[in-house]
């Protein structure tokens, strides 16, 4: 069983993320505790809303340091939407917000098309269609997936961040989250954690 911690830090609802994980057979813990976030096999930083208040929410709970320490230690970590925008070095939202620096780059206001950018759009490579709802987007040399020229996914070390909402993206979103759980299982096996290996009847 993969031990998943979903960061609760006052930035929108975490229910959808926990529900989506439960559908995949995981029992995530929703937590404000830095120790729980540090210890989990997978930590998820979800969130909607504004970068400034979200970052304050993380700092007030010490979760910023917990996330940084996790990623330094190579522990799998996933940021969703604001969770991606907080992971870069800075955001131009709210007159400038210093990010976690888990990824190089910055978050900038979207300047093309209708903003907020709301709806389903394909992500390349892979071609899966996911749901987006955002006004800011990340610019990063760590980008690994794009949607209409916008960074949809960025990754460095043990951190993966996505701009879309896998928890709201139907079957495509479930497949994405399953791949994240698979990534954790591979990491556990590589770390020599025999309890992570599949056992019969589990």
């Amino acid at each position: 069983m993969i031990d998943v911690a979903v960061c609760e830090y006052g930035a929108g609802n975490v229910r959808s993320v926990t529900v989506a994980l439960r559908r995949l057979g995981v029992a995530p813990m929703v937590t404000e505790s830095r120790d729980a976030v540090l210890a989990a096999d997978l930590a998820i930083l979800p969130g909607v809303g504004a970068a400034g208040s979200a970052m304050r929410g993380l700092r007030n709970r010490g979760l910023d340091q917990a996330l940084i320490e996790r990623v330094e230690a190579g522990r799998p970590t996933l940021g969703i939407c604001i969770g991606l925008q907080l992971a870069v070095e800075r955001s131009e939202e709210d007159e400038g917000v210093v990010g976690l620096g888990l990824l190089p780059g910055r978050a900038v206001l979207i300047r093309e098309g209708r903003v907020p950018r709301i709806g389903w759009a394909p992500v390349e490579p892979g071609g899966e269609t996911y749901y987006f709802a955002h006004s800011y987007a990340v610019e990063s040399p760590a980008a690994v997936g794009y949607s209409e020229g916008i960074v949809a996914e960025a990754a460095q070390g043990s951190f993966v961040g996505v701009q879309f909402h896998p928890e709201k993206s139907g079957n495509a979103g479930s497949r994405f989250l399953q791949r994240q759980l698979d990534r954790v299982a591979v990491w556990q096996a590589a770390a020599g954690d025999v309890s992570a290996l599949p056992t019969s009847g589990s």
Binding site: G12, N13, R15, S16, V19, A20, R23, V48, G49, A50, G113, R114, V115, P116, R117, I118, G119, W120, A121, T129, Y131, F132, A133, H134, S135, E148, H165, E167, K168, S169, G170, N171, G173, S174
Partner: protein, 247 residues
């Protein structure tokens, strides 16, 4: 731009899907969670749950409904009807809704939009505008506000709304087609997404609306029938409208 969206709208009261004309003789036609899930399976891009009673006593049942929907359905959904203040909206979002729509309360106090956007983010704030003859109406179309539709759409955007749900009272329920004229005027005047609402009778109407708006609300055309959504999607694809692959 993201793909055009098809958004079934479910009228609810006291936790059930209801049907009725002008709020009289509401008839129970099913469970919103089951119907919403069936629409999701049939390829809906989002859902809207509209509380048509929106009384204070009804509020707890709405939050309970939102929780049940969020447990079951893995696509975004908006909740509207009777959202009066920031507390109402926050409760609905914490229960699992992705967006709230506000109508009369925002006309009465447009600062509400700013407060909602600051707390929840613009992407979670939908301004519902009921329009007739280019003028805004509130209270389920019963009261004319002294506002011009396009001007109110622009102001709502400036104050923080992230999306416009534009319902033509003239077209609503006619099944003669969306009011493309007012929809395109609003869409050209704002830079946030616009959802066309009211008047869909066939796939040509929906295709026409998606030519000027980013999404189409589907109500009476579906008749609470998810299979109709499936056939409508096929018909739209045959019209050359590119929809998402929901597989």
């Amino acid at each position: 731009m993201p793909l055009p969206r098809l958004i079934p709208c479910l009228d609810v009261a006291a936790g059930r899907v209801v049907k009725g004309i002008k709020f009289e003789a509401l008839r129970d036609v099913g469970d919103p969670v089951e119907l919403g899930a069936a629409y999701s399976d049939a390829g809906a891009d989002e859902l809207v749950f509209l509380d048509v009673k929106a009384t204070v006593e009804n509020r707890d049942s709405l939050v309970d409904l939102v929780e049940r929907v969020a447990e079951r359905i893995a696509i975004p959904f908006t909740v509207g009807g009777g959202v009066r203040g920031v507390d109402d909206a926050e409760k609905l979002l914490l229960a699992g809704a992705d967006k709230v729509s506000v109508n009369s309360a925002a006309v009465a106090d447009p600062r509400l939009l700013t407060r909602l956007a600051e707390l929840l983010g613009s992407q979670a704030v939908v301004i519902a505008i009921d329009t007739k003859g280019g003028q805004v109406f509130t209270h389920a179309g019963g009261r004319q506000a002294s506002r011009e539709t396009v001007q109110w759409a622009i102001e709502a955007q400036e104050r923080g709304a992230g999306e416009i749900l534009l319902t033509s009272i003239d077209a609503d329920g006619t099944r003669d087609g969306y009011d493309v004229e007012i929809t395109s005027r609003v869409a050209e005047a704002v830079s946030i997404p616009v959802i066309a609402s009211g008047g869909a009778g066939n796939e040509l109407h929906v295709a026409e609306a998606l030519g000027v708006a980013q999404a189409a609300l589907l109500a009476s055309i579906l008749h609470e029938n998810p299979d109709r959504l499936r056939t409508l999607r096929d018909e739209l694809c045959a019209q050359g409208v590119e929809l998402r692959d929901a597989a």
